[in-house]
Symmetry: C2
Subunit: 106 residues, 2 copies
């Protein structure tokens, strides 16, 4: 299993609509990826390593797929629509990373 | 539910022993946190947003707890031992973040 993590770096005064992200954007991603997306999780950044520190990322999602190829094949046909939805909830540019799931939730 | 994410920024030529991290360090963290750690997940960074890009993080773990307070109360008595184990698998300094789990694995 791999996960595609999409991470939105915290910036002061940036815009991020967590409700839209949870209720509209991520369900759109799931609908378009179909069965290639086994499941996804969504995080809302609360704090950094010390109390009062801003989180590194204001939000993250982690899209779990069987393989990088499975993700890419499912994402590519819908990339324009999915990426085009980003301005509807944020003016931040996300950072992406692909990881192997070494230990998953039981 | 909250998650404490511990993220190890990729650096060329840095040392990271993924086997030790999976087999020794994270089980130590779980043993010391006890029931306060509901579960944890571990990622190994494979790639960045474009093929051939290095991942932002060479490894990450996500420790799931009922609350920030539950994590802190369980972690504090063992912080020295847990943090002292880091040099056994890496020379990288991790970045920490606390997030609210907005959408978790079903």
């Amino acid at each position: 299993m791999i996960k595609v993590s999409v991470m939105y770096p915290h910036k002061p005064n940036a815009r991020f609509d967590h409700a839209y992200y949870r209720d509209k954007h991520m369900p759109l991603v799931k609908a378009r990826l179909g069965a290639a997306c086994r499941f996804y999780t969504v995080d809302k950044g609360l704090a950094g390593g010390s109390p009062g520190d801003a989180p590194t990322y204001v939000a993250m999602c982690h899209i779990h797929c069987d393989s990088v190829e499975a993700f890419q094949a499912a994402f590519a046909p819908h990339a324009k629509e999915i990426l085009g939805d980003i301005p509807n909830y944020t003016d931040l540019a996300p950072v992406m990373q692909v990881s192997e799931v070494v230990v998953g939730q039981a």
